[in-house]
């Protein structure tokens, strides 16, 4: 992997996001609004809300991550800079990894920070809040990495947004199961560590596997 390219792309994406701060905060706004709809939909019963809270938070994080994916490579693809970036030796992997890292820093990390707040709103016991936080901390990078593959595969397509959701969500099922399961396990009086360990294993697998797949998909798209 080309470290210089990684650093340059990562810093550039952060700078671009900083210049369009409102746009960068949209996934977080979506996350909060979508999660707030659940009490309105299923009713304010604290018992029910407490039961579904980890799942609601996780599903909303999943959707927020997917909905913020289409622009990941789109602007660079449209103005031709992506093609130029990929010319450098070993740059495909670096671009793929840097874009996923930048996506997580911009849209993933704020969700992780705000998730305990949402947990409180949904009546999650305080013992489960740190677990939810850690599960999202391990899980949201997985979503950014998998989403990167989807964004690269659907680059420049008319219906890219819906396609990413359809392609990536089945692949994200394990992350959802172990992520939401960690908090649910605490509720059931079990240790969350098996869930978190498996989530960590998934993260490592995605760190190794997703950037090459994204890089290959980028090459197909700009070929």
């Amino acid at each position: 992997m080309n470290g210089a390219v990684f650093a340059a792309v990562y810093q550039r994406d952060l700078r671009l996001a900083w210049r369009r701060r409102t746009e960068a905060l949209l996934p977080l706004a979506f996350f909060l609004v979508a999660a707030s709809l659940f009490p309105l939909g299923v009713g304010p019963d604290p018992q029910v809300l407490k039961l579904i809270a980890p799942g609601v938070v996780w599903v909303c994080a999943l959707l927020a991550a997917m909905l913020s994916m289409p622009p990941l490579f789109a602007a660079d693809h449209a103005d031709g800079s992506l093609e130029q970036l990929l010319l450098a030796p070993g740059a495909g992997l670096a671009v793929a990894a840097a874009k996923a890292a930048a996506h997580w820093t911009i849209s993933g990390a704020p969700l992780v920070v705000c998730a305990p707040l949402l947990g409180l709103l949904l009546g999650l016991p305080s013992a489960e809040l740190p677990v939810l936080f850690v599960s999202l901390l391990l899980g949201t990078p997985i979503l950014s990495l998998l989403g990167g593959v989807g964004a690269a595969l659907t680059l420049g397509l008319r219906s890219a947004g819906m396609l990413i959701v359809l392609i990536v969500l089945p692949l994200a099922v394990p992350a959802l199961i172990f992520g939401a399961g960690a908090a649910t396990a605490v509720d059931a009086g079990q240790s969350p560590s098996p869930h978190l360990s498996l989530l960590g294993a998934l993260l490592i697998a995605c760190l190794v596997g997703a950037p090459p797949a994204t890089a290959a998909a980028l090459r197909i798209a700009v070929e």
Partner: protein, 262 residues
């Protein structure tokens, strides 16, 4: 090589049979034209035999009565739904590494049949679950993973259909199929674990400890019928894709002209 210019080899039009003979779309088209109908006939024969065995020879089940007979279509459909995904990923990977056009065409031709069998497995499972479990659907590990398999098929087909450029569609679809097949075991085991953790409905299919041999034979016959059907449909669909893509080649034009005259 030594006799390339001799008159004998010049008159011989039959291509030498190698591993790559049928990687040529023209050769494959002719082969599929023969194999497709043959597989179709084989499928029909096995289906008639299997259905006859299943409905008239196999005894009623001691516990479930007559309703168990849905197994004869349910189990073959479920087997094929999984097998065809692996087959699709295999051809996609082969296309990816060898850059072979026909391999990509196979992957694309298999996908709709695989999705069809997945829907059939879910549908018949649902029809079977209603009388035996008392519900159309439970979030059981097998049902859930089969549903996710359907989503994987749909994602592949949607992606391939959304890309106009054939080359890009083939390669992007191949990448997705390979990523999907790597993920299938992970998804399956996570769903199994999720299901046991939630202490989901403990409904399991009664283990057929003493499955009557006639039942087994009927199921195997219908499995072979589904196999042959899948082959037949994939051949025909692949033929259609070949014609679509090779429409401007000389052999395809000659073929169309000949079929217009005849």
């Amino acid at each position: 090589m030594h006799a390339v210019n001799s008159p004998a080899t010049l008159t011989a039009v039959r291509p030498r049979l190698t591993w790559f003979t049928f990687a040529s779309p023209a050769n494959f088209y002719r082969l599929a034209g023969v194999l497709g109908p043959v597989c179709g006939l084989v499928a029909a024969a096995f289906a008639v035999a299997g259905l006859w065995m299943g409905f008239f020879v196999a005894p009623s089940d001691a516990v479930q009565g007559e309703v168990y007979r849905i197994i004869f279509i349910h189990v073959p459909a479920a087997w094929l739904s999984m097998l065809l995904y692996v087959a699709m990923a295999f051809w996609a990977a082969l296309g990816w590494f060898l850059n072979a056009r026909m391999a990509f065409i196979f992957a694309r031709a298999i996908a709709p049949t695989g999705a069809l069998f997945t829907v059939l497995a879910l549908w018949t499972g649902s029809l079977w679950g209603r009388p035996t479990w008392g519900t159309w659907w439970v979030w059981d590990a097998r049902l859930t993973s089969e549903l996710i398999l359907l989503f994987l098929y749909l994602g592949y087909m949607a992606l391939v259909a959304a890309i106009d450029d054939t080359r890009r569609a083939d390669k992007a679809g191949a990448l997705l199929a390979i990523v999907g097949v790597v993920n299938v075991p992970v998804i399956y085991f996570s769903v199994v674990w999720w299901n046991t953790l939630h202490q989901g409905s403990s409904l399991t299919m009664g283990k057929e400890q003493h499955m009557a041999s006639t039942m087994l034979v009927a199921m195997l016959l219908l499995t072979l019928a589904c196999w042959a059907y899948a082959f037949a449909v994939v051949f025909v669909r692949a033929q259609a894709i070949v014609l679509e893509r090779e429409g401007d080649t000389a052999w395809a034009r000659a073929l169309v002209a000949a079929s217009n005259q005849g």
